[in-house]
């Protein structure tokens, strides 16, 4: 069962009530890739997945898997298998019957089904649990049954709709590793949906960030975090300190924005031009304390900012500082080296490098953060 490409061309979904859940979208997912779609609740992730699996017919555009256009082909005829948000195991069947259901539907003999079920039980580390009922298993085990059931039909594309959301944190982290391992072993294309950025970043080869029916950015996990392309992507994944201002000058990838805290320099991610409004973003871990040595900051490429300390939290290895610069809250986190000195003064000088400062065209900011 080798993975296959999934290609969406101009695909959109308008529900019968007139609500546009997915705006026209182009997306190419490569064979054998672990691809995540990350976005807040209600952004249209499940809708995209259901279109790929065949339960929803797109309002426009074409979906192809491998070289075959899938429009008009039912879910039972597509080389996809879907793992549901709530797993949807068959409670009245035993574990092995669940796993072998797809083979039963193909009319395979009982002996063959049984054998294949045992193989898959081994694959998902549930050897010997075949006779149990799904309700007699733990959450993580059920999860693995669902994966085995989906893999039994040898799909080239496995679609997973927040399959870990029902599990507790420990198990979730464990299952992440297992999912990734299963994906490597089987080489099936995984399309994984989540609103948990940790999950998406940890497992995926590539991540698509989605908001309000639009895919905002597709790139590697690293790219999403370090080189966000939209205000939403920047704020949804990881944390950002945000300031507002107006572009005064651009030069190559450099850009200068006038804010109420003076001129800040950064990277021009959205090809902004002078006169445009801009959002200045910098991540909490990129801000350092100047500790009274603001001299020559500009020469070192640092933006400076003066803020008042409101609260500090020690979180073991990390120290979180919550400050305020005028109207803007500023969050700084730094490593606890054991010698970290946080001044108790009224005004603290902060510095951050222009290369770590991104200037974005204003847009939706993430309200919800997983």
């Amino acid at each position: 069962m080798a993975g296959q490409d999934v290609v969406l061309q101009n695909v959109s979904m308008v529900y019968p009530n007139g609500f546009t859940a997915v705006h026209p979208t182009d997306l190419t997912i490569k064979a054998g890739e672990f691809f995540s779609i990350l976005g807040p609740s209600g952004c249209g992730k499940t809708t995209i997945l259901r279109m790929i699996s065949g339960f929803l017919e797109p309002s426009s555009g074409t979906i192809s898997i491998g070289d075959t256009v899938m429009n008009g082909i039912g879910p039972n005829k597509r080389p996809t298998a879907l793992i549901f948000q709530n797993l949807a195991l068959f409670p009245l069947m035993s574990v092995w019957e669940n796993i072998a259901f797809g083979l039963e539907a193909r009319g395979e003999s009982k002996a063959k089904r049984r054998k294949r079920a045992e193989e898959l039980l081994d694959l998902v580390a549930l050897t010997g649990q075949g006779e149990k009922k799904p309700t007699e298993l733990s959450g993580g085990q059920r999860q693995r049954v669902a994966i085995a059931r989906a893999l039994a039909v040898e799909p080239s594309v496995l679609l997973l709709d927040e399959p870990l959301s029902a599990l507790d944190l420990k198990l979730r982290q464990h299952m992440r590793a297992e999912l990734k391992a299963i994906q490597r072993k089987t080489n099936v294309t995984f399309i994984y949906i989540t609103h948990d950025q940790g999950e998406a970043l940890a497992m995926s080869d590539r991540v698509a960030v989605m908001n309000e029916g639009r895919i905002e950015q597709v790139s590697s996990a690293e790219g999403i975090y370090n080189r966000p392309e939209t205000a939403f992507a920047a704020t949804f994944v990881g944390e950002q300190n945000v300031f507002r201002g107006r572009v005064v000058a651009t030069e190559g990838e450099g850009i200068s924005v006038e804010t109420e805290h003076g001129l800040l320099h950064g990277v021009n991610r959205n090809a902004l031009t002078p006169g445009e409004e801009a959002l200045v973003m910098v991540r909490p871990e990129q801000i350092e304390l100047m500790n009274g040595n603001a001299m020559g900051a500009a020469e070192r490429g640092l933006n400076t900012l003066s803020a008042r300390l409101e609260r500090r939290d020690l979180e073991g290895a990390l120290i979180n500082l919550y400050l305020r610069a005028g109207d803007y809250p500023v969050h700084v986190n730094m490593h606890n080296t054991g010698e970290t000195h946080v001044p108790g003064e009224q005004a603290i000088a902060l510095g951050f490098h222009w290369r770590h400062t991104v200037m974005m065209r204003p847009g939706n900011l993430a309200k919800e953060r997983a």
């Binding site: 699996s53 065949g54 339960f55 039912g74 879910p75 039972n76 005829k77 996809t80 298998a81 879907l82 549901f84 948000q85 709530n86 949807a88 195991l89 068959f90 009245l92 069947m93 259901f101 797809g102 039963e104 539907a105 193909r106 059931r149 989906a150 039994a152 039909v153």
Partner: protein
């Protein structure tokens, strides 16, 4: 008990217990025990008491007819003495039913033949004499009945004879009725399952409301009316035949109307209609609790619709199907209105009709009880068999 007193106080608890006791006593024990008791008491119908009773009945009938004839003759005499003779006499009271078919009832009790005054007087005298003898016999028979029924009462004994004396014809009807009820149950299931499935899985609330309303509205109408409305539809000159006539399939005038009523098919149809709700709702309720994702999961794994239903939906709906089947079976096995009204006596009898006639026509309550008991036992066996087959417990059904 203590828990009850604690939660509800003494007064309410007493009320609860009293109500429960009354329910058990009046609704379950008394009628149940009485029926069972009667079913096992054999009344020897061919015995002396019964013979006497029949003879008394006959004597009374005969006397009644003679009285009528005498009254007629008197009326004739008066009419002749009146000036406006020749006007037909309406004075004769119309005859009631009992004479019909009673053996040895003598000349049929219509208007007495017109006789000459002399013959009439002779006939009147003859009648008076006969009536006198009859009265004597009746008094005698009644006296004997009193003594012998006292003895017969002593002779009442428990036995299986009420069951063992059931004629082969009745046994056949009994078996057929169970089979018919099974047919009705299966038919109802075949009709109700798709309806219940669609109703339970439809996403549109509006459609669902309309469907359920359409199902429920007919049930606001009295059962008899519903049955009669079907008769109107199915009759030889009924709506269905008129429709066929209008469409040109048949010619009503030429008497080509098809007799739909008085056939098993018609009885089944009406019964299915009468009991669909009892099948639809339990099934609807169970399918309603099925996670729609399971249907999609099955489809996604490549299952055909048939397999989805046989492997996912029906196993899930089993308790509902069992409840629906039990209710439909019990209701149709015991139904009397539908076979009576739709069957018109032409269609093969249902056992319920037989029971009715045992009670009210053959006047044999004990045998009637035995027949009902047999039906009840059959139904109970059916319930347990269904629960076995569907592997559901009482608890599942109670849900």
């Amino acid at each position: 008990m203590h828990a009850l007193i604690k939660t509800y106080g003494r007064g309410l608890t007493v009320l609860f217990v009293a109500l429960v006791a009354a329910w058990v006593l009046l609704m379950i024990l008394v009628p149940g025990v009485r029926t069972i008791q009667r079913a096992f008491i054999y009344e020897d119908r061919a015995g002396e008491t019964a013979m006497i009773a029949i003879e008394i009945d006959r004597a009374y009938t005969e006397k009644f007819q003679l009285d009528q004839e005498a009254a007629d003759l008197h009326a004739q005499a008066e009419a002749e003495s009146a000036p406006s003779s020749g006007v037909p006499s309406f004075g004769a009271p119309s005859m009631g039913g009992p004479t019909i078919g009673v053996p040895g009832a003598g000349p049929s009790g219509g208007a007495a033949a017109r006789l000459s005054p002399a013959d009439r007087d002779a006939r009147l005298a003859e009648i008076a004499a006969k009536v006198a003898t009859l009265e004597g016999r009746i008094a005698d028979l009644e006296a004997r009945e009193d003594t012998s029924s006292g003895e017969a009462g002593m002779k009442e004994r428990y036995s299986f004879e009420n069951f063992t004396t059931m004629s082969m014809v009745h046994v056949r009807i009994f078996v057929l009725t169970l089979f018919y009820a099974l047919c009705v149950t299966v038919l109802s299931f075949l009709i109700c399952y798709p309806v219940a499935f669609v109703a339970a899985t439809t996403r549109s609330k509006g459609k669902l409301t309309v469907m359920l309303l359409l199902l429920v509205i007919p049930y606001a109408i009295n059962e008899l009316l519903r049955i009669f409305s079907w008769v109107m539809i199915l009759e030889k000159n009924g709506i269905l035949n008129s429709l066929f006539d209008a469409l040109g399939f048949i010619d009503l005038e030429a008497g080509e109307g098809i007799r739909f009523v008085a056939s098993n098919g018609a009885v089944f149809l009406v019964m299915v209609y009468a009991y669909v709700l009892f099948m639809v709702f339990p099934i609807y309720n169970t399918i309603d609790t099925l996670d729609p994702n399971q249907l999609e999961a099955a489809r996604d794994l490549g299952a055909s619709s048939w397999r989805i239903h046989t492997r996912v939906v029906i196993p899930h709906a089993k308790p509902g199907i069992a409840v629906g089947a039990i209710m439909t079976f019990m209701l149709s096995a015991g139904s009397i209105a539908a076979p009576e009204i739709v069957g018109r006596g032409l269609h093969p009898d249902w056992f319920s009709q037989l029971i009715y006639r045992r009670f009210f026509e053959a006047d044999s309550w004990n045998q009637g009880s035995a027949y009902s008991l047999a039906l009840l036992v059959a139904c109970v066996i059916f319930i347990f068999a269904t629960m076995r087959i569907f592997k559901v417990g009482i608890r599942d059904i109670a849900k």
